[in-house]
């Protein structure tokens, strides 16, 4: 065990985590020649394309220590387990479990960008778990690098010594050797007891079409072997360990896994929801006394309706969602129906990025054309009779006369930015009902703003707006804090007098009029003109608070159509027809699929 090092990488998006990981894998010859594709760890097509890590990954490297410190020189190679983690707030629970499985972390900071909010919050998480932090100043090769300044930030933040910061470049390979040495020298070996009852911490799971659900874990204590009966503590389910082993580029079976090591287990699990990140695996015969601390049921933060464009695709959509869930247990879904959209599902997502990813995967991997409605959060609705109803869909709200009060989730948000953007950011947060808790200078002119905010206000276009008003110089992170009572009301949208349930939203009473007006204006842009006039109205209960009119098409005619125009005209009309097919007929009005989501993208 003294030759094992378990570490993760903490980095803001684009600071070079994947590139540096590739260099580590190359230097340790974990990947060679033909397997050398850029960003080895991001193997999902979507991950490569977007340059983000969506799922956790783990990979083991063998490393022959080349340093000059006698106490680390050893005949045996070191076993380095790298746990790659997603870099987005949506997946912060998964990140926390990966961190809990490590003894050290590489803190990668882009020398031209400096420290970002996401980095800080993950860093705090790592410090809470007592991880040894190896600070790395990356992209040192960039002409715009500000090594001194960013090093100051790191030193300020960690209270470490300047000499501890390693200057590196994933591009040129500079400093990578030093990083490997530091991993051995500075990170302590795992502490567990191989003879104690078995405790493995699950930090991720993947679906394999032939082998079922495969769980990734770190053995915290104990030792286990293939063929033994194991139990997942939180779910209480028991399985036979068919195969266990370590994770290299592929899975490599082992006869034994013991304390300190990181690996996989295949045990014929069919349902992804049975493998919960944070759960503990133990032996059935000699179970551990306590589960590993920190297990939480991850709850969706955001809900949205997902509907097939063609009603008859409902069952296909269900099958696709089930398959997606195999890969992604954090996706929840439940059948629902909408007057406007027919049969579909109310899905729960970890956040907006997660929602986008699911939507994109439905499209790419399953060729499902869907309508996604405006997302909302979970509301606790208290009736006058004193019951509490959890509502995941604004149109499922009980009648207003039955409601005593409504609670909505709040978050604690951290925004790090440069001083010059504080003004506009504060205005933005105020508009989103944010309450400033604190304002701290992180270093130089970088400020951290802490806000309490309703989650419902940030699930939508908050992040995009933040990025645009700060010209990209603001980073954002949040954690759920509490449920709070709020004056929320339901805002309905009517098309030619027909309420469109899929467009209903819950909003704070003070924002309702402005929002109603802007939604009508936005829909006027999004809905194409039809053969008749279309009235768009926003209403609270029976009261109309805003209206826009889309004028009827009076003229849509091709004047000339002779020999040469026929092909051209046909192609044009065919294109229009395809567009039309992607519209949803609501009453007599044809509404484009994107309108349901974009209606709240207001400027």
């Amino acid at each position: 065990m003294k030759n094992i090092r378990n570490f993760c990488i903490i980095a803001h998006i684009d600071h070079g985590k994947s590139t540096l990981a590739d260099r580590l894998l190359e230097m340790t010859k974990t990947v060679t020649g033909k397997d050398l594709q850029a960003q080895v760890l991001d193997d999902m097509e979507l991950e490569r394309e977007r340059g983000i890590t969506i799922k956790s990954h783990a990979i083991q490297m063998d490393y022959a220590y080349t340093g000059d410190k006698a106490e680390f020189q050893s005949k045996e190679k070191y076993v380095l387990n790298l746990l790659d983690t997603p870099g987005h707030v949506d997946f912060s629970y998964e990140v926390s479990r990966s961190i809990a499985a490590c003894e050290g972390a590489l803190l990668i900071v882009d020398a031209s960008q400096g420290i970002q909010a996401q980095t800080i919050s993950n860093l705090y998480m790592a410090l809470e778990h007592d991880l040894e932090i190896i600070p790395i100043l990356n992209k040192i090769d960039l002409p715009g690098a500000m090594p001194e300044e960013v090093e100051d930030q790191i030193v300020d933040l960690l209270g470490c010594d300047r000499s501890e910061v390693i200057r590196a470049s994933g591009k040129t390979g500079e400093g990578v050797d030093e990083i490997l040495r530091a991993i051995v020298e500075r990170i302590r070996p795992p502490k567990g007891d191989p003879d104690a009852p078995l405790q493995c911490l699950i930090f991720d799971s993947v679906f394999n079409p032939f082998r079922g659900i495969i769980a990734y874990y770190k053995v915290v204590n104990g030792t286990f072997h293939p063929g033994e009966k194991v139990k997942f503590v939180a779910t209480g389910k028991e399985y036979l360990a068919d195969e266990i082993g370590i994770l290299r580029l592929d899975m490599e079976p082992r006869k034994e896994m013991s304390a300190g090591n990181v690996g996989y287990i295949i045990s014929g699990i069919k349902t992804s929801t049975e493998v919960k990140v944070g759960d503990t695996i133990t032996h059935v015969s000699n179970p551990c006394e306590n589960a590993i601390e920190g297990f939480e049921e991850v709850k969706p933060m955001v809900y949205a309706g997902v509907y097939p464009i063609e009603t008859e695709d409902f069952e296909n959509l269900r099958a696709s969602m089930e398959k997606l869930q195999l890969n992604d247990a954090s996706l929840t879904f439940q059948a629902e129906s909408s007057l406007a959209l027919g049969f579909g599902f109310r899905c729960g997502f970890l956040g907006m990025l997660h929602m986008e990813i699911i939507q994109e995967r439905l499209d790419r991997e399953f060729d499902m054309d869907v309508i996604t409605t405006v997302p909302n959060v979970r509301y606790n609705v208290y009736t006058k009779k004193g019951e509490m109803i959890e509502v995941h869909n604004p149109s499922g709200l009980p009648d207003i006369t039955l409601i005593d009060h409504i609670e909505e989730p709040y978050i604690r948000a951290s925004i790090i930015t440069a001083a010059e953007y504080i003004g506009p950011i504060m205005t933005l947060c105020l508009g989103k009902r944010g309450e400033l808790v604190r304002q701290d200078y992180v270093s130089g002119n970088r400020v951290e703003l802490i806000y309490n905010m309703p989650l419902g206000e940030i699930v939508f276009d908050f992040y995009d707006k933040l990025k645009s008003i700060s010209k990209g110089y603001a980073s954002f992170d949040y954690h759920p804090s509490e449920m709070r009572e709020s004056k929320l009301i339901k805002l309905d949208v009517l098309l030619n007098g027909e309420p469109v349930d899929a467009l209903s939203t819950l909003t704070h009473i003070d924002n309702a009029y402005g929002l109603g007006k802007r939604m009508c204006e936005k829909l006027k842009e999004l809905i194409p003109r039809q053969q008749f006039e279309v009235a768009i109205q926003a209403a609270i209960g029976a009261k109309i608070i805003a209206r826009e009119t889309i004028k009827a098409v009076r003229k849509d005619v091709t004047a000339k159509c002779y020999g040469g125009d026929i092909s051209r005209k046909r192609k044009l009309l065919e294109k229009q027809k395809r567009g039309k097919k992607r519209m949803k007929q609501i009453g007599t009005v044809e509404v484009p699929q994107k309108a349901f989501l974009e209606v709240l993208k207001l400027d």
Binding site: V557, T558, A559, C561, Y562, L573, K577
Partner: protein
């Protein structure tokens, strides 16, 4: 039966609404005539044998009236030489002409050619409007051209008009229509302005220098046009075309009735009943290819669905409309069933009228015909 189209892509100046393929490279004329003749020989066997007898020739442009009568004779002789055809006396041979090319001397020469139909590009009888669209003739010349042509024995005359132009009003359009009818052309093509990407007019309108007529006014213009022409005995037989009895354009009708045609010249389109093809839209490239004994052309072979779509968007333009029996025979019942279903719904909305096995657009339907075609057509995933 079949039609031949010959494209003369030459203009002395560019009309501001035009996105047609034409060029002001007038010095290429001789080379062009040679190439057109050569292409006719090359395409001598293009048409299907069961439909290769020419009944119409249409010399369009561009501005064919820039050609001399001897050049025109060369082209027509070559055509009659290259393709089987009905008796020349029974053929419709049209040439497009710019009003100010129809002087006495020119007309005299033209009357000696085989051309028996003139399509005169009047566009408007209002000088302000003619200036704005950069035509090189004025209202007076337009009026004289028609009378003159008659004088020289042309008794099948069509004129082109445009409405919806900047500077036009409902009243000025009513004047244009009245002037046109008083001149008693046998045929009127009246187009509602389409703004094409890239035309000068589109640019000026998007810059705010000019304003187009609003949709409701265009519709009023259209309705007036229908009333006035019908009161004077014209039949509204295609969206933009009006004819005295017996004077429908036979050549253009073949486009709307799935009849094969050959297009000669740069950018010209041909259709052999199965595939469509079009020559390169570039005069030097066209000339080069022909000089090397090849055709620089793109071909599109039509699937059954595409043929059905073509049928919808051509046949439904005409007052005869579509024929469900024909659709069922030619494309299959899948298509005729669908067409009937869509037609029934459109009839409820007042956009089409169904009479037995046939269905045509109503006045209401015509002005939104593209959206109605979209309802009828089929796209494969």
């Amino acid at each position: 039966m079949a039609g031949l189209y010959i494209h003369i892509p030459l203009c002395t100046q560019r009309c501001s609404y035009c996105d047609f393929f034409s060029t002001t490279l007038l010095n290429k004329r001789v080379e062009l005539i040679d190439a057109l003749c050569k292409e006719m020989k090359m395409r001598a066997h293009y048409l299907p044998v069961d439909g290769n007898v020419l009944e119409t020739i249409y010399i369009g442009g561009g501005t064919p009236s820039l050609l001399s009568s001897s050049e025109i004779n060369i082209l027509i002789d070559c055509a009659l030489d290259s393709f089987p055809h009905v008796d020349t006396g029974k053929m419709e041979i049209t040439m497009e002409a710019n009003p100010n090319d129809l002087s006495d001397s020119n007309l005299k020469e033209l009357s000696g050619t085989a051309i028996n139909r003139l399509s005169i590009g009047c566009q408007s009888f209002n000088d302000t409007t003619l200036k704005i669209i950069n035509r090189r003739h004025n209202a007076e010349e337009a009026k004289n051209a028609i009378a003159n042509a008659r004088k020289y024995g042309f008794n099948n005359i069509s004129i082109d008009l445009i409405y919806g132009l900047p500077s036009q009003t409902i009243d000025s359009w009513k004047d244009d229509v009245a002037t046109a009818i008083a001149l008693k052309p046998n045929h009127i093509s009246a187009y509602c302005l389409e703004l094409h990407e890239g035309s000068l007019l589109t640019k000026k309108i998007s810059k705010g220098e000019l304003t187009e007529m609003d949709e409701a006014d265009c519709l009023t213009c259209f309705k007036h046009l229908r009333e006035a022409t019908s009161a004077s005995g014209y039949e509204h037989y295609e969206i933009s075309n009006f004819a005295q009895k017996g004077f429908r354009s036979r050549h253009n009708s073949s486009y709307w009735h799935d009849i094969p045609y050959i297009g000669i010249g740069p950018a010209a389109h041909s259709y052999d009943g199965v595939s469509r093809q079009w020559n390169v839209s570039h005069l030097p490239k066209y000339l080069k290819a022909i000089s090397e004994n090849r055709l620089d052309t793109e071909i599109e072979t039509l699937s059954v669905t595409e043929k059905y779509n073509d049928y919808i968007l051509t046949a439904l333009r005409t007052s005869d409309g579509i024929d469900f029996q024909y659709i069922s025979n030619k494309f299959g019942t899948r298509f005729s069933d669908l067409a009937k279903e869509v037609a029934a719904k459109q009839q409820k909305d007042g956009n089409v009228e169904i009479i037995g096995e046939k269905c045509h657009l109503t006045e209401k339907g015509i002005f939104i015909s593209d959206s109605i075609f979209t309802e009828f057509i089929v796209v494969e995933e």
